[in-house]
């Protein structure tokens, strides 16, 4: 079923790399959210929140390129949103790495399973 498994990419090692990947992704995302959050509180901390009525976010905070532009302009809400996008990308990066690892190990059954999951995730984000 799986053919020869190359040494160096054992399940154990994959698990460790996955662990590091998740930690790095979450750490980076949280740092960006924190920076944006501090900016947001300094600039808008005295205004009042209004989450009781649903209006939806402006288009600039919905699409990936809109969020990137808002963040580059230094808009605090755009910076936070960029951090949140990094957070959403973290598990997706994990799945992409798993695909690589299963393919390296010539585990084609699981490489296919992982490719399906990755395709679904990319679809959900770019829809």
């Amino acid at each position: 079923m799986t053919g020869e498994r190359r040494p160096g990419w054992t399940d154990k090692r994959v698990e460790q790399v996955v662990g590091n990947l998740l930690r790095a992704g979450v750490g980076l995302a949280a740092t960006v959210v924190l920076i944006g959050g501090l900016l947001y509180l300094v600039r808008h901390g005295a205004s009042s929140p209004h989450y009781g009525v649903f209006e939806g976010e402006p288009a600039s905070l919905q699409s990936l390129d809109g969020i990137a532009r808002a963040a580059l302009r230094g808009q605090s809400r755009g910076v936070i949103q960029l951090g949140l996008v990094l957070l959403i990308l973290t598990p997706i990066a994990r799945v992409a790495f798993s695909l690589f690892a299963f393919a390296r190990a010539s585990d084609w059954v699981f490489a296919s399973v992982t490719a399906i999951v990755l395709a679904l995730l990319v679809y959900s984000l770019l829809l």
């Binding site: 944006g36 949140l84 959403i88 990308l89 994990r94 799945v95 699981f110 999951v117 995730l121």
Partner: protein
């Protein structure tokens, strides 16, 4: 209340939610949405958006630790994620057409049902059961560390577990939760995977399921940065603290905490949803 005060209070609540979420394997989202809607009067669509993002943080943060300890089974997780991601896309689509009251009612029912199931006695895994052929083919069987050395386990009823995972995905996308309860149920009670392996693998899968739903939420404007910021930054350290407790905690105590929290929140969501107060 100013944005600053609101953010600080929400941050405190999120810390507690992250702690409970990691402790019980539920993910923080199941506590976040009731907290925001019932406690702060936030519209349920903003609440499930912030909640689902925080679920990714909780799951990924805690999973990083579990993976290294050798409890999680990545193969089981990846295989079942096919079902949960398809389900999450379906659920996120449904969230766009359901009324807030209907979402709250489903939320309440799911919480109550989870609490009920968690307190049911589980049959002990018995070696007499025939091994599942699909589990053998996919090499899902594994082992986990115990004080007496690694203990092997066999995975049963793969098709039934897979189907239940689809349901878990739908609920995740619809309610902005990780569906940890249903995931643990599918693995622990249906597939007969040891409890600690179930909870940690569930935690690991939650991030991927939630990412699928969050992509849809983002493009629909459910994810507000001002609201998600204190949630994410509170849930993360909370989850880190909670995941440290899990490894040493007694399983029965874990289940009891899990059930009580879930049942109380379920009743309140159900009541508010039915009386149209959300």
């Amino acid at each position: 209340m100013t944005v600053l005060e609101f953010s600080l209070l929400v941050w405190l609540g999120a810390f507690a939610a992250g702690f409970l979420g990691a402790l019980t394997g539920l993910g923080g989202g199941v506590v976040i949405t009731p907290l925001l809607t019932l406690g702060f009067g936030v519209d349920i669509r903003y609440a499930i958006g912030a909640s689902l993002v925080s679920v990714i943080a909780t799951s990924s943060g805690a999973a990083a630790a579990y993976v290294k300890e050798g409890y999680s089974n990545i193969r089981i997780g990846m295989f079942l994620e096919v079902a949960t991601t398809v389900g999450a896309l379906v659920g996120a689509f449904l969230a766009g057409i359901a009324s807030p009251g209907a979402i709250a009612v489903v939320f309440g029912l799911v919480l109550l049902y989870s609490a009920y199931l968690a307190e049911q006695p589980r049959p002990e895994p018995s070696a007499a059961e025939p091994p599942d052929r699909l589990a053998n083919f996919l090499r899902l069987n594994g082992s986990y560390p115990t004080p007496d050395g690694p203990r092997a386990y066999h995975v049963r009823h793969v098709p039934a577990g897979f189907s239940l995972m689809f349901v878990a995905g739908v609920l995740s996308g619809l309610l902005g939760i990780g569906s940890g309860a249903v995931k643990v149920l599918a693995m622990d009670q249906v597939m007969r995977i040891p409890f600690k392996v179930s909870t940690t693998t569930s935690n690991f899968m939650i991030g991927v399921t939630a990412a699928a739903g969050a992509g849809v939420y983002l493009r629909r404007g459910y994810i507000d940065p001002g609201l998600a910021m204190p949630i994410v930054l509170g849930v993360l350290p909370g989850a880190l603290a909670g995941s440290r407790v899990l490894v040493g905690a007694k399983i029965r105590r874990l289940r009891l905490v899990f059930s009580i929290v879930v049942a109380v929140l379920g009743l309140e969501m159900l009541y508010k949803g039915l009386t149209g107060r959300l």
